[in-house]
Symmetry: C2
Subunit: 418 residues, 2 copies
């Protein structure tokens, strides 16, 4: 019985987090339909472009803010559980309390709260890019201070093949902080640009979060080093809860849109858990589709190739299927690097290039997104099936990541990766 009590108390915070995850999921699930009307009234709604003319209706936008707020509330309620061993001690004072863990927790929440706020402001006000980059960079600042003062190492262990040149480890120093700051900015935008079909934002986030949960459970069971993964697990389980509930309503045909709010919220939650859990490299492994999509998008994001306002696939009213969307331009209008990029994507087959059907002197190139690439490979496709394919890709990538991380990691590193 004593052992059982000990076992329960040692997993108590996992149980609390899991319980709160279910509470959060059920709250989110029930609150979303209840508040949808309020969002439409406030002008937060959009038309789903990928639907048949007759089925088009106003869909409430930025509903991710409901999931995010419930997540925040649940995590606030969870804090006392996480530190209950110290808070229940009768005498007052600072003696036993793990200030460093508490401050890490609160800093993480602060970053998350800032990004939810920024995302919602973006949904409401359609912020310019310069506004969107400033706040996330600064919101990462407390996180970096925490990383420093909780003794976070800026030393990376180098892969075996690099050691003859650079030594066993490399202290990146300030570069490592810049890397972490950029990680926050990257994560928050990575989900946002792999978007445009029903259920894709919430779906990919759920797959990534579940993968991170699996990874943390493996770490907690299998290794000595626990602390960061305990924190990550307790932050990620409620996230899975609210995201699953949101996905239910956001799945094809979407009754709600998640908005920038959700994309930012999901991205920063991943960044925070990765940084505070000291597994940012593993996190990047799970984000491979997002990294591929981002790198693939760069020519359009930096305007080497013209970028239309929307890059989401095009709905074919006659077949009801989604087809590739194109950017149209005169080849002569491209810069020299732009023309090089066009040649590369044509030769590698990453994009479909054709003369514009109506004005043959102009060139069409399918937009530089992983979604268009999937359509290019499988042909015109139903929206629900497309989302499912991309999520399966995400799952496959997670399995691959776990395979790299565990069995194969030892081929390049002679000790477990952090």
């Amino acid at each position: 019985i004593f052992l059982l009590a000990f076992a329960i108390s040692s997993v108590g915070h996992y149980l609390a987090s899991l319980g709160l995850a279910f509470v959060a999921a059920s709250l989110t699930f029930r609150l979303i339909p209840a508040v949808s009307e309020m969002f439409i009234k406030a002008g937060l709604s959009g038309i789903d472009l990928n639907k048949h003319e007759k089925l088009k209706k106003k869909v409430p936008e930025a509903i991710g803010v409901v999931a995010a707020t419930i997540y925040l509330i649940v995590i606030f309620l969870y804090i006392p559980f996480h530190f209950r061993a110290y808070l229940l001690v009768e005498q007052q004072g600072t003696d036993g309390f793990p200030h460093d863990k508490f401050v890490a927790f609160i800093c993480g929440l602060l970053s998350i709260c800032c990004m939810i706020f920024l995302g919602f402001a973006d949904d409401v006000l359609n912020l310019a890019w310069r506004h969107k980059l400033l706040l996330p960079t600064l919101a990462a600042l407390p996180l970096l201070i925490v990383y420093k003062v909780t003794g976070g190492s800026t030393t990376v262990i180098l892969p075996i093949f690099a050691r003859p040149f650079l030594g066993h480890t490399l202290d990146l120093g300030v570069l490592f902080y810049i890397y972490m700051g950029m990680l926050s900015v990257f994560c928050t935008n990575a989900i946002n640009i792999l978007a445009g079909v029903n259920g894709i934002e919430a779906g990919q986030s759920l797959v990534i979060a579940v993968s991170l949960v699996v990874n943390s459970i493996i770490q907690i069971i299998g290794t000595e080093y626990h602390e960061g993964h305990q924190l990550a697990l307790c932050l990620l389980m409620p996230f899975c809860g609210v995201t699953a509930a949101l996905l239910w309503h956001n799945w094809y045909p979407s009754n709600v849109f998640v908005g920038d709010t959700f994309c930012y919220f999901a991205g920063i939650t991943f960044a925070v858990t990765g940084i505070l859990g000291h597994f940012s490299k593993t996190l990047l492994l799970f984000l491979m589709p997002q990294i591929f999509n981002f790198v693939f998008s760069v020519p359009q994001l930096f305007k080497l190739i013209p970028c239309p306002r929307h890059r989401l696939p095009k709905y074919d009213q006659s077949t009801g299927l989604l087809t590739m969307s194109y950017a149209t331009f005169a080849t002569s209008s491209l810069s020299r690097p732009g023309r090089l990029v066009l040649d590369i994507v044509r030769v590698t087959g990453l994009c479909h290039v054709r003369p514009n059907p109506e004005q043959p002197e102009l060139t069409d190139v399918s937009n530089f997104t992983i979604i268009n690439l999937v359509i290019k490979m499988v042909g015109p496709i139903h929206e629900e099936k497309l989302t499912t394919y991309i999520l399966m890709l995400q799952v496959a990538s997670s399995v691959l990541a776990l395979a790299i991380r565990y069995p194969f990691g030892n081929m390049f590193f002679d000790q477990p990766l952090a």
Copy 2:
């Protein structure tokens, strides 16, 4: 020279905070006109009811979010200054770093960030009351944990006259935490209900913030106990900066409205500084007009007396002056306590009671706000003058508060109040 360098380094964070206050003020001042159009486009605008028919135009609403965001950014930038002595130390590790102070800082910011988010959501979505009470209560939770683990005392020193009955001090225990939680909720709503004429929300907040700054400077110069007031000062100076810039644009005739966002932001900033600076009782002294207005409003807030949607004064199109606004009802429809309240305000002269001019069988009572009370005392008045009067009242109340706090405090307490 050595002494000078020491003096500079010991006031360095005040200088940094003061400098950032000016930066914040100038940024806010210039950004507000630049983004106004964006707010109107997003549907965040309202018509100023207290203006002549011909001068009515769309005024951007919720502009407080600009001030609040700049405040957050500036405070993020300020954090490294506050802890520069520890961050500049070469060796890594947790040894010298004052985790307890850092965590207090971050918790304060978290509460502020949550309330800004909630305020903005309220401006956009018009939240219901039940939503508005949940998040601020929970956002105060980290603050309370910090208060506990940084050794905050729940013991209050009793006034001399109460000691024969209750002893020298009284440990309120958990009641004290409830009190602090309620303080946060009270502060965030107190500014919001003393509203309705141009410049009043930002104006009263500026007066209160400057009063708190004066109080903290007196404490830092005059007493041994510094720490809480240092933190308060560094949080309040940038607040004064952004609020002054906002007030400039919000002053009669308002080019922008501050919105719930600003009211919540101001309220929680006061609550956070009061709690973390351990001077919550002094804070309440500076909030006397707000407390009076709240208590005065209670009969309408709890529907003992009918409460119209808006309680702001009524604009007289012919004279251009503001007059009292009334709630109209059949006296027989009132509950017994409602009739008692009506008798009290009639006898004490707090409200004007009259038969309705059009339907004499109905009763008119001027709405239960300090603004209507001022108009009742001075007669119909120009809007700018009304705002000035109420702000003068706030200044007078601050002077009185300082008088109670310092010279007279010793009549009731034999040691300085915390």
